[in-house]
Symmetry: C2
Subunit: 472 residues, 2 copies
């Protein structure tokens, strides 16, 4: 063979023998970390990679995500903002029928049915649900998001966020705290009583404070959180306190009984996860801004219903690509173990879809540590996510990475080419309806979502009109 | 020369030639970063290093620092808790007379004199102060601490912290916020009006909340802050919100007018530095626990009055070792520059003395960045401080350093042996009395404090009673 000129080098991948032989011959080599694409996706991947719209479409998707805004503008009942009728519910993840619904989703629907007064007890609620008298659809189908089971019923109060750049809203219910709560599939009397208090006292109080305060810049709070050890999914401690700080003066000035004021403040400040339900619709506004760009391979939704994991991709709009929800690797609350855990559930993976949560793990090493990992593991997780993304969000700078922006815009083609999956931080619900939370940990989507998305994207690539070629 | 046996190695330092020659001869060498001690301290250093009590005494000092506790137990007027009489003031740093007092210290004394009603205007106050009609002594002399000028007058309300392990109290005034404030030497009407409101409304409100709430574990809050990007000196954002969270329910339940409650909450939550005045007495309790151990070379106080920088060392108790206060290297508020800045002032370096502030810089790279540094600079600063300290505080774990404890217990001998100085984060006061804050930045003590301490410690080493040797 002829040695390349001195200004060239041979890029080698895979078997090291080839590079070694070239090196022996004095030829410069550059070793790259290449591996074959996920099996069965080679043709689809080639079609998508060769789509001339792809690069520009993904740049457009990234630009829209980075430019999106999210202001908390109101707190209102779901019936009012989502046009949810009695007997209608929303839930997390892709669509699912009762027969295939997981324990925690069934539990949350049972609880919501009792809470709405449609049934006197859980047994009656379950019968109503099982026989098809009630209806449910994904939160995402109405531009909303819900953590864990994500069940929303008409009487629940929703945080309303607005993106004034793209003139679009998103919503999420109010966070109930941890342990025995509806979103983890619990429906006991204490759960229903708490939901009643949230509807009677908490929702109206936060509405008064939000309306008096005026719009709160949620993305600015998230930017601060990332400087403060919160990754915005499993850790929202600083974010919750910063949100409360924004509300406090107007909350105090609102026409609330002193005891109710104290209880509202205690409830919000005592729940480190309160901000999650604000971060989630903010992330939904970001990812939704990138939706529907022809040719874009950027993931705009990752969501789970406890049975299926579903993703949506910019170039194919609202189409769901599903695979089996996985079990998280995590830490269990006292008395619970792996046998008690339900597979992955919740719309909260919208955090990772927008570039925080597991993608910002480098800023929250405590999360990795509590499942036995190390600080370098946390750094490596974020580093790996950069490889899957089309770009970075400069507004969300990670201090330990020398203020590099969070990895943003998961590219289906990068997942398929590398075989690496997005890292998601998550809570774990009990497998059996009524249990509640059993732990928290780390999980990934199933590869099936991405292989299906690859085929879906390939099918959406327009036929090339080559001269002299007639497609029949 | 004879080559060492194979299990030995030669430790080499200084000129590389020697190591290179040994290496050439096949002898293993270990290069260490040694440099000659600070000139003029060689004899004193040798005496102190050979003191057989030193190692054990420093271990004892570290143990006491790590075991100390600090609970916020009350908020009370200085007249009541410090037995401060009319016409008496406390101030930051070592003792100083009017003639040598810096602009910001003079300004704060002038403001406090007006605030206490001892003079009708600043001019009259200045005359009283200059002619010796009033008296002042260091906060440290009464176990208290004060940021910047640190002026405390009898009517000011103090945060009271208690160490139940060592049965000891410390105190600090309430933080006034930034800009034109007394502690930065401002004394205009707005400054005095704010102090009046703090005495009439804020102090009593926080007293009611603290008494109803019960003791607040300040060291636990600091431990959390260090996970949240606060180093506890120039950055106290998370700490302030976490403290407010502890107070809120009882503050709301207290017998306060709704408007006063709103103003108190707005004042505390709107000042990211509010927690500094809680962190400081907590750090004072830690360092004071290590004070007065014969033979210990651990620094227990670093404090500045705007003219002199003074340190106290465990083995010599309350003795001050002083040198000229330095100018900070920092960032100036709009319109101000280096010519406007006063030399270093304040007791807040108690933070670094206890192991946070500049010593925990690795956790707060934003602070280094705003004076033009980088994240690696922040990591290097903390790494360098480990070299100066006798140990670490495992309760204060820095995430990015894989949860290593903060460097704790500055050793005078390490400073003298390495020539490296402790790194302090600080605010900058205007040089001219009445100006207020002009910036914030980084500073070090003058080496003179440590050389003087070296001599002081050497003088305190008991005479060796060697057999056959009679000292005359």
């Amino acid at each position: 063979m002829t040695a390349p000129t001195s200004t060239s080098a041979v890029v080698t991948a895979g078997a090291a023998l080839f590079a070694e032989e070239l090196t022996r011959q004095g030829v410069a080599t550059v070793d790259v970390d290449w591996r074959p694409p996920v099996s069965g996706t080679e043709d689809a991947l080639a079609t998508v990679m060769l789509d001339p719209r792809r690069v520009t479409a993904n740049q457009e998707a990234l630009a829209r995500m980075v430019l999106a805004r999210a202001q908390l503008t109101d707190v209102r009942p779901a019936a009012e903002v989502l046009d949810l009728q009695p007997g209608q519910f929303l839930h997390a993840g892709p669509p699912i029928e009762w027969e295939r619904a997981s324990g925690p989703l069934r539990g949350a629907l049972i609880g919501a049915t009792v809470f709405e007064g449609l049934a006197d007890d859980p047994e009656a609620a379950e019968r109503l649900l099982a026989r098809g008298s009630l209806s449910w659809e994904p939160c995402h189908s109405r531009g909303a998001v819900g953590p864990m089971a994500g069940v929303v019923s008409p009487s629940m109060w929703m945080l309303e966020l607005y993106d004034d750049v793209h003139d679009r809203y998103s919503w999420c219910s109010l966070n109930e705290g941890l342990g025995k709560v509806l979103r983890y599939g619990a429906y006991s009397a204490e759960v229903i009583d708490r939901l009643r208090w949230m509807t009677d006292v908490l929702g109206p109080a936060l509405q008064a404070a939000t309306r008096a305060r005026g719009p709160i810049d949620v993305l600015a709070i998230i930017a601060q959180m990332i400087q403060m050890g919160d990754e915005g999914h499993n850790r929202n401690r600083a974010g919750t306190l910063m949100l409360l700080k924004e509300w406090l003066p107007d909350l105090i000035a609102a026409d609330l009984r002193r005891a109710d004021l104290a209880e509202v403040v205690r409830f919000v400040s005592g729940n480190d996860h309160f901000f999650l339900n604000v971060a989630m619709p903010a992330c939904k506004l970001i990812t939704r801004a990138a939706s529907g760009i022809p040719g874009s391979t950027v993931v705009t939704t990752m969501a789970r219903n406890g049975t299926d994991f579903g993703i949506q991709v910019s170039g194919t709009g609202e189409e769901w690509y599903v695979g089996p929800a996985q079990l998280a690797d995590g830490l269990y609350l006292g008395g619970f173990g792996p046998d008690d855990a339900n597979p992955d559930i919740g719309d909260s993976a919208i955090a990772e879809t927008a570039g925080i949560g597991g993608f910002a793990m480098a800023t929250a090493p405590a999360i990795v540590r509590f499942v036995g990992g190390t600080v370098p593991d946390a750094l490596r997780t974020t580093a790996r996510m950069y490889d899957l993304c089309v770009g970075e969000n400069p507004s969300w700078a990670i201090p330990v990475l020398e203020f590099r922006g969070t990895p943003t815009g998961i590219d289906v083609t990068s997942v398929l080419r590398t075989g690496q999956l997005p890292q998601i931080n998550t809570g774990m619900a009990g497998r059996v309806a009524g249990t509640g939370q059993v732990g928290a940990g780390l999980v990934t989507p199933p590869m099936e979502c991405f292989t299906a998305a690859g085929h879906g994207l390939a099918a959406a690539v327009p036929s090339p009109h080559l001269p002299g070629v007639v497609r029949t």
